[in-house]
């Protein structure tokens, strides 16, 4: 039994690694097309200076820093899912630990890239090593980021080790010589004897214990970059835990999207990454959304109530001013995401004749509410009449509710689609959250006139490029290594058989 299963797995997980088919090259070409403009514009920024962005005084930090925090955040996926679930000995973690841990590594790499892109003198990067001062918060971030990245790479490698040995031993005769050599070197003479297995499991356990505090340190240290300054709105002590919660929240979101992408890419993965995973991790996702809402409420409530003269303009800009579309957009996205995850659990899957539960009603209401939201966000002078605005707001809430109600039935039967939509909403919402932490404060400095910030084409292209690079790393990495941890799945099956019968 064991043997046939392995043969089957090998066929589905290892054979595609050697198939450089058209789909693969199309993906690569598309990604290169996505990445190229950003790189070209970054080279232009290198030549001309940071003036090609819309950064100014006092908005000294912009979209690059938002991306940095966001990417650091999504990199929390590996730590939480893989390490925590391993420590808790949760069995359904097995098929997705590989993807989770690699996301951490790639997320951190692209996050580091953002800092270099944000520097005025990237050629002097080495100065941080020559003249680094321990008092500077940026140095703490460098220390934490490097340590986290190294530990994440180590954790990923440990988990890969038996699979690399498997690849070494099972490489087809047609496989290129350099790949065989690569696997031989990387497998570190792994023979899979009992002692090696014992030691590997011990090491993985210790790394899992250590990576969680290191991960939390990185997310809090990143928040300290802001709270150690005296800018209005950043002095909040809640920023640290808020960043950690947001990180876990968006990390799970990215994990769902990545696993679904992998499933779509390699159809065989559907046997391994089952709906059970979406169901189980979905519950944790729902919990995190609750925690996240609580922290958002805390952050806003304290700032609105404390009567701090310097902070109030920042909060006002978020609640009613120029950042209101981003702030309320973020909240609405999160509400929609939570609804998408929760509501289908409360309806029956029998078709209903109720008009409010029809998909068409839902889609029409979605379209109308998006239009009303856009109208309200644009602040057209023609719509400045208070009565009209109140009417629009009420109409918006009505249609938003109708939209949520309408799509529930449709989502009921499509768990994975629902999860992916919710994840996309959460990811976009979390990017906006990072934006809402940074931008209102930066544009409302103390002794400089209030300004605005609109990312230029350079910043937008570099941002798109960054996510392209993240995807490219993901695609290329999984052409070399199986996207499902073969030995862990095997082990899980063995355990199930051992305990079940």
């Amino acid at each position: 039994m064991q043997q046939t299963l392995t043969l089957h797995d090998r066929d589905e997980l290892l054979t595609p690694l050697y198939q450089f088919d058209r789909k693969f090259w199309t993906t690569i070409a598309a990604l290169v097309l996505v990445i190229a403009p950003g790189i070209l514009l970054y080279i232009r920024q290198l030549v001309l200076g940071l003036g090609v962005t819309d950064l100014n005084r006092p908005v000294f930090w912009g979209a690059y820093l938002v991306n940095f925090i966001f990417l650091i955040g999504v990199s929390m996926a590996g730590t939480v899912i893989s390490a925590t679930l391993l420590l808790l000995k949760v069995n359904w973690r097995r098929p997705i630990t590989r993807i989770a841990e690699s996301l951490t590594v790639f997320g951190l790499m692209t996050a580091g890239l953002q800092i270099i892109m944000d520097m005025g003198r990237p050629d002097r990067l080495v100065f941080t090593l020559l003249y680094g001062r321990l008092q500077a918060p940026l140095m703490w971030d460098i220390a934490s980021l490097t340590l986290y990245l190294l530990t994440a790479i180590f954790a990923l490698y440990l988990q890969l080790l038996p699979d690399i040995a498997l690849l070494r031993d099972t490489a087809p005769a047609t496989a290129p010589e350099w790949r065989k050599k690569l696997y031989t070197i990387l497998s570190l003479n792994w023979r899979g004897n009992k002692e090696q297995w014992t030691r590997l499991e011990k090491a993985m356990l210790v790394v899992s214990i250590f990576i969680i505090p290191i991960g939390i340190s990185l997310h809090t240290v990143t928040s300290w970059l802001f709270s150690t300054t005296v800018q209005p709105g950043w002095k909040s002590t809640i920023l640290g835990p808020y960043f950690v919660v947001g990180a876990i929240y968006s990390g799970i979101g990215l994990l769902f999207i990545a696993t679904t992408f992998a499933r779509y890419y390699n159809k065989h993965l559907k046997e391994y990454i089952t709906e059970k995973f979406y169901e189980n991790l979905g519950w944790f996702f729902i919990v995190m959304s609750g925690v996240w809402f609580y922290f958002t409420l805390n952050e806003t409530l304290v700032a609105t109530t404390e009567q701090e003269t310097l902070e109030f303009p920042v909060v006002a800009a978020k609640l009613f001013g120029e950042f209101a579309p981003a702030f309320w957009g973020m909240n609405l996205l999160m509400i929609a995401a939570t609804w998408i995850l929760v509501a289908p659990k409360f309806v029956s899957d029998k078709p209903s004749r109720n008009l409010f539960l029809q998909t068409t009603t839902g889609l029409a209401a979605t379209a109308i509410s998006v239009v009303i939201f856009a109208l309200l966000s644009l602040r057209l002078p023609a719509l400045s009449d208070p009565n009209l605005q109140t009417g629009l707001l009420l109409a918006f809430f009505l249609f938003f509710l109708l939209a949520l109600l309408g799509v529930t039935k449709w989502l009921k039967t499509r768990l994975i689609t629902a999860t992916v939509i919710a994840s996309a909403f959460v990811l976009f919402g979390m990017w906006l959250e990072r934006w809402n932490v940074l931008m209102p404060t930066l544009t409302h400095a103390r002794l400089a006139p209030y300004t605005t910030y609109h990312p230029t084409v350079t910043e937008i292209a570099v941002t798109i490029s960054t996510f392209g690079i993240l995807t490219l790393m993901f695609v290329v990495f999984y052409k070399f290594f199986p996207s499902v941890s073969v030995w862990e799945v095997e082990e899980g099956r063995a355990l199930e058989q051992g305990s079940g019968d």
Binding site: L129, R133, L134, T151, F154, D169, N193, K194, Q196, L200
Partner: protein, 62 residues
């Protein structure tokens, strides 16, 4: 006055956090320690000899 910076130990701490290069040294130490630990762990795993001569059935010989 009891200003802490008058005490040598606090002067040393201030020197520690304020001197350029020391921070880099600390980061270097951290990174070096991490890499050494990881390398030693990998060697420890790879060097394991089979004590009982009983192979774990994975990866299976096919």
């Amino acid at each position: 006055m009891n200003f802490p910076l008058e005490q040598p130990i606090f002067q040393f701490f201030y020197w520690l956090v304020n001197t350029p290069g020391v921070g880099a040294g600390v980061v270097g130490l951290l990174v070096g320690a991490a890499i050494t630990t990881f390398a030693l762990t990998l060697r420890w795993i790879a060097s394991a000899k089979d004590v009982e001569q009983e192979a774990y059935p994975y990866p299976p010989k096919l």
